[in-house]
């Protein structure tokens, strides 16, 4: 077994240090080493998006990034999306639009949609669907998820171009 490596990173705004084996993914590190179980394992090969996190502002599948790659990085997980007790507009919209059933895909969808709205505050329906194509949901048929993202975009207060 390779020696565990020391990694210093920032997670949800908090400076965070951990030890991990090189073969441990970010998903494993978050869940097994740091107790952040919001990111979910659905496929472990980059095809469902349930493990999505933001890495330096970019949405990534945390199952396809190694923990050792986080040295010096800035990570946001689903646990860091809300501002304290104030839910993010996406989280509020998912609740109001009934955009979740079992909820296992929800963290990935919200993280991924946040990355979209951060870069494009007023996407149209097709843009939302294209951006979220890497996030699988088996409960909702996507209808209410897409509506929730569009609603959150409208609610975000960002200027319409």
């Amino acid at each position: 077994m390779a020696r565990r490596t020391y990694v210093a990173t920032t997670i949800n705004g908090m400076p965070t240090e951990f030890l991990c084996e090189p073969r441990q993914s970010v998903l494993e590190v978050l869940r097994d080493e740091l107790g952040l179980t919001g990111a979910k394992e659905g496929c472990n090969n980059g095809n469902c998006g349930a493990c999505a996190v933001l890495l330096n502002g970019q949405v990534v599948n945390s199952c396809c990034v190694l923990g050792v790659e986080l040295e010096g990085a800035d990570v946001t997980t689903i646990e860091g999306i809300a501002d304290g007790e104030n839910l993010h507009p996406l989280q509020q919209a998912f609740l109001e639009e009934a955009a979740l059933q079992c909820g296992i895909c929800t963290p990935g969808f919200i993280v991924s949609a946040k990355a979209l709205l951060d870069s494009n505050p007023h996407p149209d329906e097709h843009t939302v669907r294209f951006w979220l194509a890497g996030n699988l949901c088996r409960c909702t048929g996507y209808d209410k998820i897409v509506r929730a993202v569009l609603k959150a975009a409208d609610a975000s207060g960002a200027p319409v171009p």
């Binding site: 073969r23 980059g46 095809n47 990534v60 599948n61 190694l66």
Partner: protein, 291 residues
């Protein structure tokens, strides 16, 4: 997943030193293929060498001569997120924006996609249509290889032990030209190409005749293939449906596909003709729209 060491060299020299230390090495760029392959025991190594801290591999340079140099580990999303690149090289965006989902594109790179050497890789036909050239570096120096000569078989390239793919260079594209790449997949995203076609169409000064063309196909042979016969079929002809149909026939004739869970040989042979024709039509549209 078997255990391995992780190295993150800061310079090419450090990388070459690591490559020469006698251990079995694999390169890590975006990791979206290699990490999964290691996890599924489809590849193994003693050490994984992360190339993303080497400046040359992360550089993007729009050259003064109209060419484009792309560091081998530059993430796809960074490429198509660059407005100049998206505007001037839409044929690259065609491929870069459909490899995996958006979360994959934050990490995956053209270099990684090429070195993975899947016959169905989306980047290959697009880059081949562009006439891209690869720069390969080793401790002994660098060499260049046209991208169409890079593949040696499924999962195999001409990359030798000790070598690193440094960058992908897009030469200046001819006037009145456009590249278009597309693929056929059963879903509308998140699939491996059943078949794919990348073409470059170049019109003559009159705009009424085809001056030259390049046609590249994916997922219909052991490697991505160039189809010179499809290009020859259109040169000197008017850019119209009948002409493109001839290219489609030539593409279909050159295809030597297999049947697997993603599609049948007959389906693929049929599809590359359809895709080649449509790629030419879209490329023509791009020229006409001045894109």
């Amino acid at each position: 997943m078997e255990s391995f060491e992780y190295l993150a060299p800061r310079t090419l020299a450090e990388a070459f030193a690591a490559l020469g230390n006698g251990k079995r090495s694999l390169m890590l760029a975006g990791g979206t293929d290699v990490i999964v392959q290691l996890r599924e025991n489809r590849r193994s190594c003693d050490q994984l060498i992360d190339l993303k801290h080497i400046p040359e591999l992360m550089a993007v340079d729009i050259r003064a001569d109209g060419g484009l140099d792309i560091g081998a580990a530059v993430p796809l999303a960074e490429l198509y997120g660059n407005r100049d690149i998206a505007r001037r090289w839409p044929g690259l965006v065609d491929a870069a924006s459909i490899i995996g989902g958006r979360a994959i594109q934050s990490r995956a790179s053209f270099g990684g996609n090429l070195c993975n050497a899947s016959p169905a890789a989306d980047s290959s036909p697009s880059l081949m249509a562009h006439g891209a050239v690869l720069t390969i570096a080793s401790a002994g120096g660098t060499r260049t290889v046209p991208v169409d000569e890079f593949f040696a078989g499924p999962g195999r390239s001409v990359l030798q032990p000790g070598e690193v793919l440094l960058r992908v260079s897009i030469p200046p594209q001819p006037a009145r030209s456009a590249v278009f790449y597309h693929r056929f997949i059963p879903r509308n995203e998140m699939d491996i190409a059943v078949a794919s076609a990348g073409v470059r169409l170049v019109l003559d000064e009159s705009g009424d005749r085809i001056a030259s063309a390049r046609v590249a196909l994916g997922a219909v042979a052991a490697t991505p293939i160039m189809v010179p016969a499809a290009a020859e079929a259109v040169v000197g002809q008017a850019p119209v449906a009948d002409t493109f149909a001839k290219a489609g026939e030539a593409a279909s004739a050159a295809a030597q596909p297999i049947t697997d869970m993603r599609g049948s040989a007959a389906q693929r042979k049929h599809l590359v003709s359809v895709l080649t024709v449509r790629a030419f039509e879209h490329a023509l549209q791009r020229i006409r729209e001045g894109r």
